[in-house]
């Protein structure tokens, strides 16, 4: 009898003091592994699939150029457009864009800037070539054709 009496006097609560720590751990995990979405996409993006992919070595050296059909076709038409930093640009503005991106980097790293081209698969090569010519003009020669992984069926 006395034994049961003793037991009932112990605390019934589950200790929840460690719960915030667990949640914080999850929080830090997501904070580290994710990147903020920098721009709001205004073009359709259905990236091509490829096998021979390579990863970006240094994320800070990468600038993005989005090409594709505008999402708001009634406003901008159906012709593919070039988007950088939330705005549509013409091919001739690419040089200026590259130069502002280069200015953000350290002097020694400027030549290593990588342009990641995120191009929709329905785009024709014409506009992509125009952009490439401008990139040559701007001396940003490292390109990355952003693509998704193609699963080979063997």
């Amino acid at each position: 009898m006395s034994k049961f009496g003793k037991k009932s006097s112990t605390s019934q609560e589950i200790p929840t003091a460690a719960l915030p720590d667990i949640i914080f751990m999850l929080l830090f995990f997501f904070m580290v592994t994710t990147v903020m979405r920098e721009v709001e996409l205004m073009v359709r993006q259905d990236l091509p699939k490829a096998v021979q992919l390579q990863k970006i070595e240094r994320k800070s050296l990468v600038s993005y150029i989005y090409i594709g059909e505008p999402r708001k076709t009634d406003l901008y038409g159906t012709e593919p457009k070039i988007q950088v930093n939330d705005v549509f640009v013409e091919p001739k503005d690419i040089v200026r864009f590259v130069n502002t991106e280069k200015d953000k980097l350290d002097e020694v790293l400027r030549d290593q800037i990588t342009m990641s081209l995120k191009v929709d698969i329905d785009t024709k090569m014409g506009i992509v070539t125009d952009v490439q010519q401008e990139l040559r003009e701007a001396n940003a020669r490292k390109l990355l054709y952003s693509s998704r992984k193609l699963v080979e069926d063997i």
Binding site: P20, T33, A50, Q52, L117, D120, D122, V128, N139
Partner: protein
């Protein structure tokens, strides 16, 4: 009794809501972020032509150029023959690059450094005089039209890179997957990388597309 009552409020800080605050932050980050999944096919553009320099006169032998043309209807012309299946390009390019039709001294060095399996392949199929003179001279040229779809362009580029990666991987004696993630900052892996690429340059030339749809 009175002492006990005074002590009770400072006995414990209520930290129950801490979890809620952390949850709120967690959900905020979950919603506002995307997992970085940036991968792609790398390429190096040729440097800007210097207006003072005359255009280089090309004295390359036609047999050393593997020509791929794509028109605005997404049809391919590979080595002057129409080709339907894009995935065949990889093996054709591999065969073309590893052809020792008229090898010079550097190419013979390359041949001697090949593993025995690749030597056997070269000995059976890789001595055609109408194909490339040797890996050092072989150039793959890809010319797309302005009307070619980006999808086909990437597919062909993927095949070309795949051909070279498979050659390098086989020469280094590792799998293609291992080859793609090779770390050039590590001296041991860098040595392997240089060894596999020595004498076989990744000569992929992307020609400027013509203006009119063909």
């Amino acid at each position: 009794m009175a002492k006990n009552k005074k002590n009770r409020p400072v006995a414990e800080v209520n930290s129950g809501s801490m979890a809620d605050i952390a949850f709120l932050l967690l959900i905020f980050f979950l919603v506002t972020t995307t997992i970085a999944n940036d991968k792609g096919i790398g390429m190096l553009l040729p440097p800007k032509p210097d207006p003072n320099d005359p255009p280089p006169d090309i004295t390359m032998n036609q047999r050393n150029i593997f020509k791929i043309l794509a028109n605005s209807q997404d049809r391919l012309l590979v080595e002057d023959e129409p080709l339907e299946d894009v995935t065949k390009i990889k093996d054709m390019v591999k065969e073309f690059v590893l052809n020792f039709g008229n090898p010079d001294a550097d190419d013979i060095l390359v041949y001697n450094s090949l593993p025995s399996t690749m030597k056997a392949t070269v000995n059976t199929v890789g001595k055609r005089p109408d194909s490339s003179d040797g890996p050092g001279e072989a150039v793959v040229s890809f010319k797309a039209d302005r009307g070619t779809s980006y999808e086909l362009y990437i597919q062909v580029l993927d095949q070309l890179n795949g051909a070279y990666n498979e050659l390098y991987a086989e020469r280094a004696g590792i799998s293609v997957e291992d080859w793609r993630i090779i770390d050039r900052k590590d001296p041991v892996q860098k040595e392997l990388y240089d060894m596999a690429r020595k004498g076989i340059p990744r000569a992929i030339s992307i020609a400027e597309p013509n203006k009119i749809g063909g």
